[in-house]
Symmetry: C2
Subunit: 182 residues, 2 copies
């Protein structure tokens, strides 16, 4: 387990910066042929994190996938409106409430330091409080021509640096950005 506190995102966007198309769909993420099931660094990334945090929307999307629970790390669900986590997920998932600072303090108290922040609104909330240290962004090279943007309005500008870049499947590019601290 990592001892350094770090919050990371690992997400795919369209070439025009969307995480979902105009109809909220994400099927375009998987259009490019991937015969060897290249996970584009996902399992390596996941092996380096201690826990995940996501919003209710992302949690309910994951619950709706026609697969078993996909995470082998603790998941924290950030929600103002949920009153409890459904029984079948209680072994893996904790509901957290409060400010992001309070929520992170609780996650750190439980011994989890490297946190994977997932879901559009949750990422946006973290960015708004300058709480994202690391972003691995995979660009699916398609212009959707509209949809839900990963990035939206922020109270302040934030500087990052691109520390590595890689092409997958001969078409997809993944850029790794790290928060620049002065």
């Amino acid at each position: 387990m990592s001892s350094i506190q770090k919050n990371s995102i690992f997400i795919a966007t369209s070439l025009d910066g969307c995480i979902a198309d105009r109809d909220g769909k994400i099927d375009w993420l998987h259009e490019i042929p991937n015969p060897d099931n290249d996970d584009m660094g996902y399992s390596k990334f996941i092996s380096g994190i201690d826990a995940l945090i996501m919003g209710r929307t992302t949690f309910e999307t994951v619950c709706g996938f026609d697969i078993d629970w996909p995470y082998d790390k603790p998941v924290f669900v950030l929600s103002r409106t949920m009153s409890e986590i459904p029984q079948k997920y209680k072994d893996n998932v904790q509901l957290v409430k409060g400010s992001l600072t309070q929520v992170l303090a609780e996650i750190h108290r439980q011994g989890y330091h490297h946190v994977y922040v997932d879901g559009g609104e949750t990422i946006q909330s973290f960015l708004n409080e300058d709480l994202i240290d690391d972003m691995i962004i995979t660009i699916i090279p398609k212009l959707l021509g509209g949809g839900k943007l990963l990035f939206s309005n922020l109270n302040a500008t934030l500087d990052f640096e691109c520390i590595s870049t890689q092409i997958f499947l001969g078409k997809v590019v993944q850029n790794h950005f790290r928060r620049l601290t002065t």
Copy 2:
């Protein structure tokens, strides 16, 4: 001169996909120290094109720069509202009107085949008619938190592939996308 007809863009955006900030400013493009004046492939790109096309806004912006006319290739200015090009630019600049297909036909008739399409609105018009073949996009790794987006609504989705990627100045990433034709 190239004999293959091709329309390219070479542009920089913020990490959140903006070409100008909320105040229309672009000073953030040049914040990263660049002691050796690395042009990040610009002169190589320019040497490969035959002509430029830009909108009135970009033309007037370039005219307003406190420098000599920066292009050694013919420039076509696409404008519905301008009636003529100011006298001092007439040797280098032609005003063009009509549909993009008509305008491109005129440019090709003059013997220019590889066209550099510049300026937010002009790029958007070309994309809307699927007339962009090649995009070199340099990402300045700063979240502006709002501004003028490079990409906006399109009538149809457009597939590209990332054919190369490179890091400049240890921080900036440049991705080269090519239109995928099936």
